[in-house]
Chain length 584, copies 2
């Protein structure tokens, strides 16, 4: 038996007990005749004491050889501590050691195993097994476990059945790129790893499973933006015989449960916002509504003067930064620099200071008088002391730019509080989205999403105007889930695929099994998928997902710890009927 | 709202209530003026009634058009049934329909949606979404969900943390074949799909996670024997600071919990058997101990006469089939034919009838007298009325053959009762196994398994004799789990890999990250993995796993429903820097 107790367990009540402990050496303080060792495991830290008067000389000698991260086992007696440590659970006791066994030695770790480590990202990832010993990472992984347990228990008690869908499926060129898996037994053929279990969960609805969920890995071979992973985890859900309202209620319930159980936060009914309103008011389909700074559209009150920049713009739009008039000229210049960064892409920014006396001072006083500026203040909701920031240009671009500025200002003003939670449903997404490069429409959510009743006809005349029964769940400015009511009629699905540019043959080859299934009594159905990695990070009060993933990959899709991907044997390639075809 | 109740919900107490129901048409009985429809969903069946006197004529007309598996919605009033059906929960009521909406029509399904269907395996798999509507499949999937929920809740409450390990890892030629995944972003390089999360769970132990589990898909590109799947699910577990005894206790607890919660069966302490004893007594490392027929080894009492077949055999071994003397000569000839089938491979079988009067009659009376046969009976434990069956030959082969016969006879005698559960630990497995084709030893469990203390030295002199800290959990003749105490010392791991034929470079390239990790304070650790598909099937009283998997693949690794794997575009291949290299 390696231990009688963990290192987080012993209390004053255990004094005089003989115990066996195991763990890692966190710290050694050697005073010559006395040595203290902090012994660490997942559960906590226990202070060990070696005392020249009371500890066997050989044991004391061994204790002197201990280094950081050595794995040891000790036997000893629990005693009351002279100087107690109120910061740890075991802080009232220590263990006077009688026996010491070194279970394994340790080289000096390449970074300190402390909450604030000296290790950089790359080094921590290379030695991720050491990084996991650190509290912040360890606690994040335990937190993730807690969230998934809550999700599973909540959904199970609500009648959802977790069904495992296959990982080796079929490649469909639609959407993002698939990872493919060559089949040895079926020469020249490939499986694909699922980008999501979408078609399978729909087939489970056709199969009468009624309420399905699965916490499942999904795969996308995309060029990785920051904080994206080629493999990621979804909470994937689907229900039959439901309308949009049923879905929103079901998953609002789940989210509210998580906020309560995991964060201890009670939240009322989630507000709902039309997609169009989200874009108009926040320039964004996932607005952070923990704070204001709603957009004001200023075409009417800014395009009547001789200012060409505004007059030529499709949209003039602004926000009022609360208390922003306190910024110096230099600080405002820095904000302007910030919006002109290529990541944001604005060509410039017009601003107007709202003075405490009710007067205004703008960067375009040449064109606009106090009366004009007062209207700007009215439209943007600016109060004395605020700073009005205006961008102009093409509607889509300028909304995105102003949205970025709004988030940045909120960040600087400390308005994005990690422990405040503001969920929001964004509903009535467009069915289709214009790809500006190709001029083609593609499905905004996916090709199985149902148009709103009566809007199918619009597909011919105004495809961009068709609204879908599609919705996103937004939390603190992050999309944590999204879904839709699906098409369950073969004809409508065929029409939809035609509009998305699939030939009849392509549609049949790729989705024939689903459309066949629709002919055998498919029920109305719909669902939603949460991005678990992000959900957990946000509930954990963070926005980066990496510490909530045990073994994440870097931005080149590499696992630097195991050094994967890697070349494989020629023999393996031959067995798979493949040859390399390198571009060099 | 598509329904106010499910089809399993209404009772006598609901009579006179106006309800809305949705579901599939299971059956229509049209008596002209009255029509009854069985409406089905996941939760049950409710009888609908259309009555010319009380139902609107148009509704009645629509009802007459309903076919099997149509999806409909009805509104109506709950009434008490004239002739009650005690076999279903809703059997005391029916719904007098006032409104009927056909939500979706259905073509006639290719097989009947009944517990006993007329559809063959291939057809059922092609239309798996229809097959899932059948109770036996639906209930199996729900049962699987229940088992996994129990597993997760039990392990979580015991302090285990579920940690997701990556699916895109590194190929290691050791063991079975990997499925590989070409990396587009890392040209000419490949990920592999995990055969198990073995190295990652060990790294989590090095990382201090202490108690880990994961219910996780694993992948093996093997030529598929019957009832094997290229992707399968494991309950994967690992613990640190433990000895074998701790692991056995932990997972005996889990298994006992499942038997109790899922099957309502209370089981005492699981018996333990040495691997050597299992092979000697049952010819098998996963003996079914729900019944006797232990092997008797007869070399001493059968090699003293002039019977060359026995005298030249390495092992003469037999079982006493209870009541087997009732077999006719023809029936015994059929048993002999059975053991001579290529799947079993015996060259012949010697038998001895144990007559009720205590006398014997054998197929080798020419060589053996009553006194000899009495000794055979003693060694095999045969009683009057039994049939002694003897096989002879090379020890390994003949044990496997007699084990097959033992199982077959038990099957025929009805001794393999699906609702009787006999778990068993088989312990002290050999560390290495001789590959008779190559003459090389390979790891019986895997290369990270620890030899028993003090046996490392034997590796040089008697590799086949080294015992490992490895164990299997057996249930009703099936291995449901297996595991080992791992090596946690870099030097021992290096020695082990050397003995398995890895050069130092190979060892470093493939397992370098693990051996590096062992240098930074690796704790003693070990674990176990359950095969979930089989565990669920056996708890469900079955031995074939396919109906416990929503979308299984066939023996060629194909999903016949979605028709995968399939060829991919040349463009996809080019992006992956690959060319086909077909063998034709």
């Amino acid at each position: 038996m390696y231990r009688s107790h963990t290192n987080g367990q012993l209390r004053l009540a255990d004094v005089n007990e003989e115990v066996t402990l195991s763990g890692w050496v966190q710290k050694v303080r050697d005073k010559g005749f006395m040595i203290w060792v902090d012994l660490r495991d997942r559960y906590g830290i226990t202070q060990l004491m070696f005392d020249a008067d009371r500890t066997d000389a050989a044991v004391l000698e061994t204790a002197k050889t201990l280094g950081r991260e050595f794995v040891i086992q000790v036997k000893g007696k629990v005693i009351e501590r002279q100087s107690k440590n109120p910061n740890i659970d075991t802080g009232e006791i220590e263990v006077l050691v009688s026996d010491l066994t070194v279970l394994n030695q340790a080289k000096t770790p390449p970074f300190t195993i402390e909450d604030e480590t000296d290790g950089g990202e790359e080094l921590r990832m290379q030695y991720r097994y050491l990084d996991i010993r650190r509290n912040p990472v360890k606690e994040s992984l335990i937190f993730r476990h807690k969230v998934t347990q809550e999700v599973r228990n909540y959904l199970s008690s609500d009648g959802f059945i977790e069904v495992e869908t296959p990982y080796l499926i079929k490649s469909t060129p639609e959407g993002a790129r698939d990872f493919v898996v060559p089949s040895r037994m079926n020469e020249g053929q490939f499986y694909a790893l699922p980008q999501s279990p979408q078609t399978f969960k729909q087939l489970l609805m056709v199969g009468g499973m009624d309420k399905y969920f699965q916490i499942v890995k999904c795969f996308r071979d995309e060029d990785l933006r920051a904080d994206r992973q080629p493999e990621f985890t979804q909470i994937d859900c689907e229900m039959a015989f439901i309308e949009q309202e049923d879905i929103l209620n079901a998953f609002e319930g789940l989210t509210r449960h998580l906020l309560k159980e995991v964060n201890g936060v009670e939240v009322g009914a989630f507000p709902r916002m039309q997609y169009d309103d989200a874009m108009r008011l926040y320039g964004n389909d996932k607005p952070d509504i923990r704070f204001g700074m709603e957009f004001g559209e200023l075409n009417e009150v800014a395009q009547h003067k001789d200012f060409g920049v505004f007059n030529n713009a499709e949209l003039v739009v602004g926000i009022a930064v609360p208390g922003g008039n306190s910024h110096t000229r230099k600080e405002i210049d820095n904000i302007i620099k910030w919006v002109k960064r290529p990541q944001v892409g604005a060509l410039g920014m017009v601003y107007a200071r709202c003075n405490d006396d009710g007067s205004f001072k703008s960067s375009v006083d040449k064109f606009y008088n106090q009366e004009d500026l007062a209207k700007w203040a009215e439209v943007t909701g600016a109060k004395p002391g605020d700073l009005i920031c205006l961008l102009s240009g093409d509607t889509n671009k300028v909304r995105a730019q102003l949205s970025a500025l709004r988030m940045e200002m909120a960040e600087r003003l400390g308005l994005r509080k990690p422990n405040e939670f503001a969920p929001l449903w964004v509903v009535d997404f467009p069915l289709l989205e214009l790809d500006e490069e190709t001029g083609h429409y593609h499905a905004m959510h996916h090709p199985f999403t149902s148009p709103k009743p009566g809007q199918l006809e619009l597909l011919e005349t105004n495809p961009g105007g068709v609204k879908a029964n599609a919705y996103d769940l937004v939390l603190n400015g992050n999309e944590i889930g999204g879904g839709s009511i699906r098409i369950h009629d073969k004809q409508i699905q065929a029409t939809m695929l035609k509009h998305l540019g699939f030939s009849e043959e392509e549609a049949k080859a790729q989705f024939g099994f689903l459309m066949d299934a629709f002919e055998y009594g498919a029920p109305p159905h719909g669902g939603l998928a949460f991005g678990l990695d992000r959900l957990v990070a946000i509930l954990g009060g963070q926005e980066t997902i990496r510490d909530f993933i045990a073994f994440p990959k870097n931005n080149s899709g590499r696992d630097v710890m195991i050094d994967a991907p890697a070349p494989i044997d020629d023999e393996q390639l031959t067995e798979l009927s493949l040859k390399l075809n390198l571009k060099v």
